[in-house]
Amino acid sequence: MNRNKGLTTNQWIAIAVAIIIVIAAVFGAWYLYFQPTGPKKLTVISLWSGTEEDNFLQVLGNFTENTGIESRHIGYSTQELKITIPTQLAANASIFDLAIAPWPADILNWANKGYLVEVTDLIDASKYPAGFINPVKDSTGKIWAVPFKASAKPGFWYRKSIWQTNGWTVPTATTNYTQFKALLATIKADGEANITGFKAPIASGDTVGWPLSDTTEAFIMGLGGYQLQEELIAGSINWTDPEVKNVFSNLTELLNSGYFGTPAEAWTDPIPDLWDGKYAMYFQGSFITAQPTVLNQSDFAFFPFPGWNGETNGVAGSVDYVVLPKYTEKMTDAKKLLEYLAGADAQEIMVGLGGFLATNVDVPASAYTTIDLTVLDFISKSSVHIVGDLDDSIGGTFQTTFWSQLRLLWTDPATRADLDAFLEKLQEFAP
């Protein structure tokens, strides 16, 4: 019998691959076991990217200079962070040492499950307005997060020179909602007649849904008062209540009239069009001033939402909270960074770079940019109440349902004007 005892080419290849795999496995195991054990960087995760991240990196850089503790930042999208934090915590593990998120309801939920380190003794609570601390304080008075920075959603941002050129009158404190609607009609007619590529009087934010939520909240507070937003957050009023329906009827009327643009892919996308006059205004948080596409801050301003009797009495405030997971391996360093972020020094750097408001009352007004001071002045008025961001305050499944339903309402208001069904859907997930 003639048997070929030599190995075939395929067998040689298989042996070579097997040897490579074994070598890689041995080296991999060796590296994991004997890797250098020097100090590792702290990892902070948040929703920030672009300018916001650049500014925060300067804060972290200052922390490293002062303490020698190195840190890094990882920015996530809203959807990613929404699942990364709870899934990590639920697994009793954490790839991050600190997380920054604007969702107080979720934070209390994580605290309730025992995932977080209490921060009551790490900060001086008297240094923060109660409105910033209370949302992350549980029923026993324990504080579970540090308010690092805040932003307000003061009103509609616009480019002054575009409005001057077109002769549009900027609403004042006495301009009411009826006059505002008339202004929108004028802008639409003028824009379509005179501005090349004009899209709509009001720009709409990204398709995730939170900018649409912010705009809707402005309608809720502007037409129903800040108390209505507070009641909706607390669940003491139903979404199907006639008062709420009235707000949405008015919003739908504007949507049907074509006063809003199609929701953009990213919230920053409409800013260049706003600058070119393709949109006349954009309802956004104060963080818009930090965007590089706002080419000249002195040519940029906002006006508050004109309610039934003039200027709105409520402004949604959003706070970015820092949480410390129980599962960090660098607890001492993480606590130091948390204390630093809670302090006036770190926040002064952040607000000095523009677009944000400090939560620590020790940050002087001189630290702010001129445009941010106008926001600060407005929300400091005695007539204006700062209320928690509605969807952030409720959180959970309601938040994603709210965003999703608003996207539906925004893009097809004519055939989806069945407000009862829309509001019943929200009520189904409401607190």
Binding site: T207, E265, R407, L408, R416
Partner: protein
């Protein structure tokens, strides 16, 4: 004491030897495939109070996210994730099979056909999430190629941000998956075409059969096995489609949501692993049923 004969021992050894070689693979299949499936099915029956029952199934099936009961077809999406999956199959399957076959036949004898096929197949090898992001650009109001084409042919008034609207989001994503998946169908059909004996075509030519008749009477029947593979793989792929839907986060009001996406929402947003397991189980049953049927057909053919 009874002792086995040498022959018996040899027979047992022969019988067991294949299982011995299968052990490593079986070990991993049991740990990473079978156990999760069984555990997921078990979880789907675990109710909120810890007892076993059908409450999770009742909850999921009664939701408007499963089937938007009572919504007329003319009202447009959202119809519910289950219906969206069916729509996806109904549109994606024939379109991708048709275009895959068409391209395979057209490019069979074309010079440089292999290069063109490789380019078409590129859509298949990019990660689905990247494909989803590319789709967003393609459908973009200002810069998208779709709207650019509409403007080019004088239909500028039809331009819109296609994925932002409930009425067009689902359809837009389905067309996108056809673009991504057609490359796979084309490659399988191309391989199938290579396997058809040339003699059959020569005989048809001698008999004076037209190209059209040759295509229907020779090419299509000879591609039966390839078609079964394409249909099976396409059905399974479409049923578990997730990435593109995730990029649009289910579309406005869930107008493009599918079962896999609802499973994700229940698991990681609501942390309701019972109902998430129901979605997973339903998907598993559907895919298993289809796969079993198609494999049987394949064996028969």
């Amino acid at each position: 004491m009874h002792r086995r004969t040498k022959k018996q021992r040899l027979r047992i050894r022969r019988y067991l030897t294949p299982f011995f070689f299968l052990l490593p693979a079986l070990f991993f299949i049991v740990i990473f495939v079978l156990f999760p499936i069984v555990n997921t099915i078990y979880l789907s029956f675990v109710q909120e109070n810890g007892s076993l029952g059908l409450a999770n199934y009742q909850e999921v099936i009664s939701r408007s996210e499963f089937i938007n009961y009572g919504r007329p077809i003319t009202a447009g999406p959202p119809y519910g994730a289950f219906i969206h999956n069916l729509i996806w199959i109904a549109l994606h399957l024939p379109l991708s099979v048709f275009f895959g076959l068409l391209l395979a036949v057209l490019l069979r004898d074309v010079k440089g056909g292999a290069v063109i096929k490789s380019i078409i197949f590129l859509a298949m090898i990019i990660p689905m999430v990247v494909g989803g992001v590319m789709l967003r650009f393609m459908y973009n109001d200002d810069a998208g190629v779709v709207n650019g084409f509409l403007r080019l042919i004088g239909l500028g008034n039809m331009t819109r941000s296609w994925l932002a609207y409930a009425n067009t989001c689902l359809l837009g994503l389905i067309v996108g998956t056809v673009w991504i998946w057609t490359g796979f169908c084309m490659v399988v059909y191309s391989a199938g075409l290579q396997g058809i004996p040339v003699e059959l075509y020569e005989a048809a030519k001698i008999d004076g059969a037209s190209r059209w008749r040759t295509f229907w009477r020779i090419t299509i029947p000879q591609l039966r096995s390839a078609t079964i593979v394409v249909v099976t793989m396409t059905l399974l792929w479409v049923l578990k489609v997730f990435d593109l839907v995730f990029i649009e986060f289910g579309g406005p009001g869930g107008s493009a949501s599918v079962m896999a996406f609802q499973m994700y929402l229940d698991a990681f947003y609501s942390f309701n692993f019972g109902t998430a397991s129901v979605w997973a189980t339903l998907l598993t049953v559907m895919t298993f049923g289809i796969a079993a049927y198609m494999v049987k057909r394949m064996a028969e053919s």
